[in-house]
């Protein structure tokens, strides 16, 4: 029985990817709706076979794999082309480029970590949730917030904004974490 459910889910997933591609080519919404419906049915089969926690994970992982195999199999083949290498003088870097890069890196790494840990600790200690839930979500928040802080530090056009922002987040987070608790 489980084997039938797996095969059925994979077939439906393939159908969903195929329908999505048709929707992409023809720009027709009904094919997209059909694709979502087929993927939903596939997910139901995965859940029926493996229960919700495992079934949803299997639906997502198998969906990714089926889509990738489909795209690789339908790739457009083109004749090879030589790379044209130009011989032009390289564009000189703006003055202070390396120093700014170093400053961005340190902001991303150190200040970002400080802000992420402070925000995580504040959540772990002050969020209105059960203790273990607070701790686990805080644990997941720290690397996520640090990653976002890294992006902010690297992508901001004006570096003072992430520097000030992360310093503020870190300070507020520390203050919340240090608040006396009843």
């Amino acid at each position: 029985m489980i084997f039938v459910l797996i095969i059925g889910a994979l077939v439906l997933t393939f159908g969903a990817v195929f329908a999505a591609q048709i929707a992409w080519r023809r720009r027709q919404g009904r094919w997209l709706i059909g694709s979502i419906g087929l993927f939903g049915l596939a997910t139901i089969l995965w859940i029926a076979g493996f229960r919700a926690e495992i079934g949803v994970s299997l639906a997502v992982e198998s969906g990714s794999l089926v889509a990738l195999v489909f795209i690789l199999a339908t790739a457009e083949r083109r004749p090879g082309r030589e790379v044209r290498e130009r011989a032009v003088a390289p564009t000189p870097l703006a003055p202070g480029h390396r120093q700014r890069g170093l400053l961005r890196g340190m902001t991303a790494a150190l200040l970002g970590l400080f802000a992420a840990i402070a925000a995580g600790m504040a959540f772990a200690l002050a969020a209105p949730l059960a203790e273990q839930t607070r701790l686990i979500i805080a644990g997941l928040l720290v690397p996520s917030l640090w990653a976002l802080a890294i992006l902010w530090a690297l992508a901001a056009t004006r570096l003072w904004l992430p520097v000030a922002g992360l310093a503020l987040i870190g300070t507020v987070g520390c203050a919340v974490a240090m608040l006396p608790r009843g």
Partner: protein, 508 residues
Amino acid sequence: MKLAIPRAFTRALLDAHSTLGIVFAALFYLVCFSGTVAVLADEFAQWERPDAPRVTSASDAALIRAAAEGYARARAGGSKVETLIVTAPSDLLPRMSVTAYDGRDERTWSVDAAGHVLPPASAPWAEFVREHHHSFNIPDPFGRYLVGIIGTVLIASLISGLLAHRRIIRDAFRLRRGGAPRLAAADLHNRLGVWGLPFHLIVALTGSLLGLAGLIIGVLALVAFQGDQQKAIAALTGPGPTADRRAAPLPDMRPMLATIAARSPGAPVTSVLFLQAGTRGQIVSLTTAEPAHLARNEGWTFSPEGRLLAKAGFTDGGVGMRIYGMITPLHYGTYGGLPLKLIYVLLGSGLTTIIASGMSVWFHRRREQGRPAPLGERLWEALVWAQPAAYAASAIGVLLLGWPPLPLFWGTLVGALALSNVLPDRRMVRQVLRAASGGLMILAATAHAPSLGAGWLGVGIDLVAALLGVALLYRSVRAGPLPGCRAERRRSDGRSAGGPMEAGPTGW
């Protein structure tokens, strides 16, 4: 109404994505490739030691005997035995073992189905594969922190890549092979990146948490528990041992096993952990298999008298504990048997391809801009194509010569990087290392093949390794004769040496 994303925003994110990719490419590749291989660490352990006693289930009597004999053996050997772990068989690894740890030394023995302790059936190569991904074999905690940091930067790279991709819908199914190498590499990079994103985010987030857990717990202990790490850990995992270190015998496990049988009928015990073993303050933690749940296990903590102190709640507790129980299975793909592990291997290979194709895009763009980086290209080719060779070489060293895998692995990698410095172009680096990898994989499969009792798993791994080795050799030969050899000189009509146009420096 169309949502207009400012070009400056996506430009800035693309620059950030490029910066992260270029700076961390080598570390990303090492972690992701090693993770792809480490998914099958349990299978490699069985492949490496087919002679180890096969145990498919452990009775209560076997668990009790294994704990008693393991403890006695460790104490007789001079160990103080701070921690004792009995690892029962699982559906993924039909082996049983007992480990005694005293803070400095760790001793492990195999256990047979009756619970009798046997000489250890160590699998150093499989252990190396695991530890290489966990920490690059750098001493705790620094190695784990490094891997955790790489995971965090990978999250940033994934998010920036997604947000910078303006044509994500327009190019959703576009994949051009051949043609302009940079475009082909970019298509592969973007398609794999977008469609595999759920998997990539899950493994990056869980991996960074697993790596940085020690750091996070340390800070939490400092802020909320006056520096007491045990209290911080206990807040999450339940009660720990008390301070009473007066000598006491190992607790009787029968009441504990009876409690578990009553509360979770039919759930097999997968491990027994004695903390502060042999003292009055000791506690015993048992885990039971829960295959219907993504967490895969439930935890039970008992006092030495056999009283249930706490149930972890991985399967039916609060949201936090259920998420906590899912983190490791989600990261390693251990919740769906061997088929899911193979899906993880394929998706993990996709992630390594994303990293390689990303660098390919960068190198091609530099060439088109008149700023080639030939040394960088050769070093990158060496890093990418020496990985299979390094793993195969270390396996051969362990199987045939009993040599430790760590120096063989890094020696092969460093040797390949040095060789790339000597070889004149990136194509030759790629061809030579593909051929070396292919040859070494075939040799590893051949060296292992005569192992008695390898079973279908061992034969399957040998076959796959041999087939991959043949494929690598074929790709290397098909790329045409190397520059400077006789066949190359015969082609004097001005065309470059044959072989299909490849998408980039890494031949993707």
